[in-house]
Amino acid sequence: MRLRSQTSVMALVLASFVAGTAASAADLSIVSGAVGRDIDELRKHLDMFEAETGISVDIVTMPASTTDQFGQYRLWLSAENPDIDVYRVDVIWAPQLSAHFVDLSEHAADVVDDHFPAIIQSQTVDGRLVALPMFTDAPALYYRSDLLEKHGFEPPATWVELTETAKAIQDAERAEGHDRIWGFVWQGAAYEGLTVNALEWVASNGGGQIVEPDGEISINNENAAEIIDLAATWPGNISPPGVLGYREEEARGVWQVGDAVFMRNWPYAYALSQSDDSAVQDLFDITPLPTGPSGDQNAAGLGGWNLAVSEYSPNKEAAIELVKYLASYEIQKDRAIETTRLPTLPALYEDEDVLAAQPVIGEWLPIFQEAVPRPSAPTKANYNQVSQEFWTAVHATLSGNGDAATNLTQLERNLMRIRRAGW
């Protein structure tokens, strides 16, 4: 009797478990990291996709740190994991993960020419198109137009001006009782984001791109050291000391409650800062990132996210269809209007609906077109290590462990070790 009741309970548990997995098993799985409203927006598009095609898609969410995402993706792909069909991949990952992704060049032949050629080029490895662009990214300098006007400043054109303006407004505002305000928030945590931030400083000061397209290690130069030393004066002065642990969302957190005069961030933060629960709604504007004192270039780090189909997906046909859907004109248009993600289709920058809803998208076009790529192409499979060495050297300088010249000399030596005979 007792045994029978136990068995029936176990059977019940087992049945509910099986039913549970069956009910939640969708036709496809897409894995995606997220900042801001990315996941909500993606869910909406996946539901639209299901309504059109009858194919249901699950989202597997990942932590916000792109460094963590990459490690997990590499692990899954090396294990030939069949559970994930579509990966949302950073613009720099294509050369490192290309062996695991389906070649889309034939499947997407009809739409490839609609995208910016440079973006398609960045996702093409050895003639294989490994991912279709979803949106592109280039950061800008967000500034509080109300505060600049109140204290009589223009948006800064150089990093030195930014430092001075931020300091002046911050001190003036604090004197008026706004204790928590800071001059400038950005991404200073030791992760991929710091590599992009610091690359922007260096490139805007004529200091090269860490590793040049021909493979030469160029980072150990005076211009690079000068601007990183300038940046090292920010934490605790115009930036909160904790900026050395900030990623995108932490910076936006300080900015969006009205506690920062300037912020360096990606386009996604624009729509969020304009939302109704934002303290800075209608009080801010964007401008290209400043240039260095010894440079003459506005350098925005090129970002952007793309969609790749796993070689190990049991349902490649449907996955390719999904990728093309999410990269299509209509969906990119909705993404641009709802979340100010920059489209990868030139036509959308002239689309009247987009420009009417988000005029800032038009302002972003020149910023994106001058964007500086990270050295993922010349350093190939070693890119992550190069990036980690770079952000470690910069993070050390920003934390006050040695000046930039010393740390960059050490960095150059480390990069030569990694390079050995060749990249």
Binding site: Q72, P240, G242, A396, R417
Partner: protein, 327 residues
């Protein structure tokens, strides 16, 4: 039987020994039958991965290159890189300052954290060993930090330590202990201290529990005798309690030491990628997965294993820890 043996010792002993041997043999056989499944499982889940890791450390395996894994000998450990122009340098794990930094970080963390945990654990155990109302409840309550998964408690502390909205800075500011918020986890001066603090918070209950278990084994008559003789309680603690619970403490320290030498999750959540807190495990993982140096990461894991084994052996010999249970 006894009388028979004593009266005929010469004749009986061989028979008795034979009988005994047979019994022992059966016992041994039974023991092997029971042990075999466990040994097989251990070989499959512990020995095989370990051997494979050690082997991979001598290859050039990469995750992104399927089928890679050629034998390259000790190149991952130490290798003279010739630039071809008469110049060159030693590279490899043993010549990598970042690796030695990670080793130092790990040892530093272990020594400081485990020492504090042992002292605090001892204090907590002494309190919990005393008779007072609601002791059962307090004993259960004190285990809460240990019961929370590390990832959860690390994330929780991450928010509490945040420089802008963290409750810790808010409390210290209100109390007037600090004049400006401290960025606990990102400042190089406080990152390691923050990690140690969270680890102490989390694992002190574990130490307390093990030491408390040791205290409960103490014979009560010794204390009664000390009381009758009018010995000061502090002296009783140092002369009686401490020597008697020393074996328990030593074993507890070994457990914690092995754990903290491998520390990964707490640091991965709290201070990822900060050079000040990178430990051996974090370093190995970075190379295994982030940098696509699977072989190099395997070599680091092998060294990690050797270093932990070495430290443990030294500790067991130096501390004369009795792990076998023999008297």
């Amino acid at each position: 039987m006894v009388t028979a043996t004593s009266s005929l010792p010469q004749a009986e002993i061989p028979a008795g020994r034979k009988k005994k041997t047979q019994l022992t043999r059966e016992k041994i056989r039974a023991a092997w039958i029971f042990l075999t499944p466990m040994i097989l499982v251990l070989l499959a889940v512990a020995a095989w991965p370990l051997i494979r890791t050690i082997w991979l450390g001598f290859t050039d395996a990469r995750l992104s290159v399927p089928g890679s894994g050629q034998w390259i000998g000790f190149e991952n450990y130490l290798f003279w890189l010739d630039y071809g122009d008469g110049e060159g340098e030693w590279i490899g794990l043993l010549a990598d300052p970042t690796w030695w930094r990670a080793v130092w970080n790990t040892v530093y963390f272990t020594v400081i954290a485990v020492s504090i945990e042992t002292l605090l654990g001892l204090l907590v155990a002494l309190v919990l060993n005393a008779q007072f109302a609601g002791r059962g409840f307090v004993r259960a309550a004190i285990l809460v930090p240990w019961a929370i998964p590390t990832i959860v408690s690390a994330k929780m502390w991450d928010w509490m330590l945040n420089d802008q909205f963290g409750i810790l800075n808010d409390m210290f500011m209100t109390l007037g202990l600090i004049s400006a918020p401290i960025a606990w986890t990102s400042s190089p001066d406080t990152a390691m201290a923050a990690v140690i603090m969270v680890d102490v918070w989390k694992t002190t209950p574990f130490m307390a529990l093990l030491i408390l278990a040791g205290m409960q084994m103490l014979p009560g008559d010794v204390y009664e005798a000390a009381k009758v003789d009018g010995i000061h309680p502090v002296k009783v603690f140092f002369k009686v309690t401490l020597p008697l619970i020393k074996p328990a403490i030593m074993v507890a320290v070994i457990f914690r030491m092995l754990d903290s030498l491998r520390i990964f999750d707490l640091i991965y959540v709290l201070t990822p990628n900060n050079a000040q807190t990178v430990t051996m495990s974090v370093y190995a993982r970075q190379h295994l997965f982030d940098f696509d140096n699977f072989a190099y990461g395997s070599a680091a894991s092998t060294l990690l294993f050797l270093i932990i084994a070495g430290i443990t052996i030294v500790y067991i010999y130096a501390g004369r820890v009795n792990l076998s249970g023999d008297k």
